[in-house]
Symmetry: C2
Subunit: 368 residues, 2 copies
């Protein structure tokens, strides 16, 4: 007889968690129901999106063209992690996202920073100054009008956050943090606000590669996480207006020397694809059977979160298909998603199979 698998073991593999795990869990659940001769108690439609990590540029079109096929009572989207406490959660929306690449230009060739330092504009200093004006150290975005579109939380959402388990202390311990940049807000509350993340910044060289030089360019990569009711289009407009007001001249292509001679603080701005946040009302009746099936399967209550911090294109379900959508993640939070050593904790896979089976069989637990 084989020894049982330790449920704390992890499977390390590219995409082990994101997003192979829920796909595998769903199929295993269907196989298990079949093997146990338990009928599937719902009309099941399965939809796979292979371009989610690239911003789902074709999903809207596919939805529009297959609108009738894809309608339903509720869509369940299985991306993101379970709660940091390891408890199961449902999320009723997700932050949207829009990202941009910035390049600031200094002298046309790399200069000796002794001979030209504090005369030739240092592009790293110019970029640093722009970024520091865009957000403060507590993550508050200083771009004029940025919060104007942000919808206030509903009473349901506030209550859900208040009832969510406290995870900050554990996470700070785990991550070696003495503070958070959320000005005192706990994580579930913080992620209901928009974020300006500096994903990368690059100019010249540091440490053993450092040179006494003024670089020709400085680059930053940013993403904005959006919340209801912000739109990427309006955010682009506000950000570009802000950059212009900071004295920059915006270009879309690498500027030639003539443009650089004519304009101080030339900046190249390139937006990636993006999409807005989505929300399903926390009291939407279509979601109730899902909650019921999960709670009966698990024998415990699930955590309800207004928003997932990360972005998944849920708005296409609500806006194009006019169908409520909830997120039902099954993977562990410490899965190094998108990073090196991505992994899946076995117990999360077992739980995921059971939850999917419970939902598919209906709320009657007749399959156990």
């Amino acid at each position: 007889m084989k020894a049982p698998l330790n449920p704390e073991w992890r499977i390390y593999a590219r995409s082990a968690s994101d997003d192979k795990a829920p796909i595998q869990a769903l199929f295993t659940a269907i196989d298990a129901l079949k093997a146990a001769k338990i009928p599937i108690g719902v009309n099941l439609k399965v939809f796979f999106e292979g371009e989610e990590e690239a911003g789902s540029p074709h999903l809207a079109q596919v939805f529009r063209e297959n609108d009738d096929l894809l309608k339903g009572d509720v869509w369940i989207l299985s991306d993101g992690p379970v709660n940091q406490t390891r408890r199961q959660q449902l999320y009723f929306g997700a932050r949207g996202v829009t990202d941009l690449e910035l390049t600031v230009y200094g002298p046309g060739r790399v200069l000796h920073d002794g001979h030209y330092g504090n005369w030739a504009p240092n592009p790293a200093a110019v970029l640093v100054d722009l970024l520091a004006h865009m957000r403060d150290a507590n993550s508050h975005i200083l771009i004029r009008g940025f919060y104007d579109d942000v919808r206030a939380l509903t009473a349901d959402e506030k209550q859900a956050i208040a009832q969510s388990p406290e995870v900050d202390a554990q996470l700070k311990q785990e991550l070696g943090l003495a503070w958070t940049e959320s000005a005192g807000s706990v994580l579930p509350l913080a992620i209901t606000q928009p974020a300006l993340n500096i994903r990368g910044i690059e100019s010249g060289h540091v440490e053993e590669k450092a040179q006494n030089a003024i670089s020709s360019t400085a680059k930053a990569s940013i993403d904005f996480r959006l919340v209801p009711n912000q739109t990427p289009e309006h955010v682009h407009e506000l950000v570009e207006k802000f950059i212009t007001q900071q004295g920059f001249y915006i270009v879309r292509q690498t500027p030639d020397v003539e443009i650089r001679r004519q304009h101080a603080r030339v900046i190249k701005v390139s937006w990636g694809p993006g999409y807005k946040a989505a929300r399903t009302a926390m009291n939407d009746p279509a979601v109730r059977p899902v909650i019921q099936a999960m709670e009966q399967t698990l024998g415990t209550s699930v955590i309800k979160m207004p928003l997932l911090g990360g972005s998944v294109p849920m708005y296409l379900f609500t806006d194009v298909l006019k169908t409520p959508v909830v997120g039902l993640p099954i993977v562990n939070h410490d899965n190094n998603q998108h990073g090196a050593n991505e992994n899946l904790r076995l117990q999360n896979l077992w739980d995921g199979i059971e939850i999917f089976a419970g939902i598919l069989a209906g709320a009657e637990k007749n399959w156990k």
Copy 2:
């Protein structure tokens, strides 16, 4: 008969300008004087420093131990470029330098910036905020007390700057710049002030390598250019006091998780070797024969500059040997010194040979 070499041709080679050119020019000048049977009219001492690019860590000791051997009326140091107008110049001092590496710490592992953005401290944002508080966009250093030690320019120095040729317009054209960060000061005046140069900044990734992630660290490499009478020691003290006042906890080694749990805004600060600026009085009588020989050789006046923007350890000559020192550069300003494609313009080499020969022969031009 061979065609003459075009004086605008350039020799491309590592160190072609810095600092092989003056060494070769000096030896060629001596050979030429010998061949023409023109006696050397001065007592010549030659000193080669092979560690200049590494901050000359042993030069002070060598000077102290060989103090008697190295004394003289005046030392001529041949580093840096001629004026941007291509005219010959002498400089009576050089900015000092001290450099530091900064590392700011975020979460202990790279995090998904959707799930944790505006909660987990983003080290790039923290670093950007610190740097933006250190200097403004016009290169003014905002560190309290930074300018207290800066000696005002003498009347001689002011006059020399006023008489120096205008180079800003040409340089801005050449470098594709519509502005300078010197708040209106021309280059020769700007470099009489201290500089805070961001040599490099690095966190996460940009452009096609960008990831939706909060990095674990953000790094910056900085050098400060110092002017008389600043010292590296006092600058270190002021900078660290400033960093601490900005809410940082300074460490010297990579902090462990316990230190990161205990202190918000942990920063690693590492200073490299540095040295102070030096000056020789512009009316020092020992320098007069050098000027005279140069001007007789060239048949035109030379530009006198109070300070070279770049750093050479001239202070060891003035402070340890108690001997006046001037800088006599011979190489072209657009030589890509320290960068790719370093080069030497042939005419600069020819001029350098003639100038050295003129100085060695004395001011009599009897060798032409």
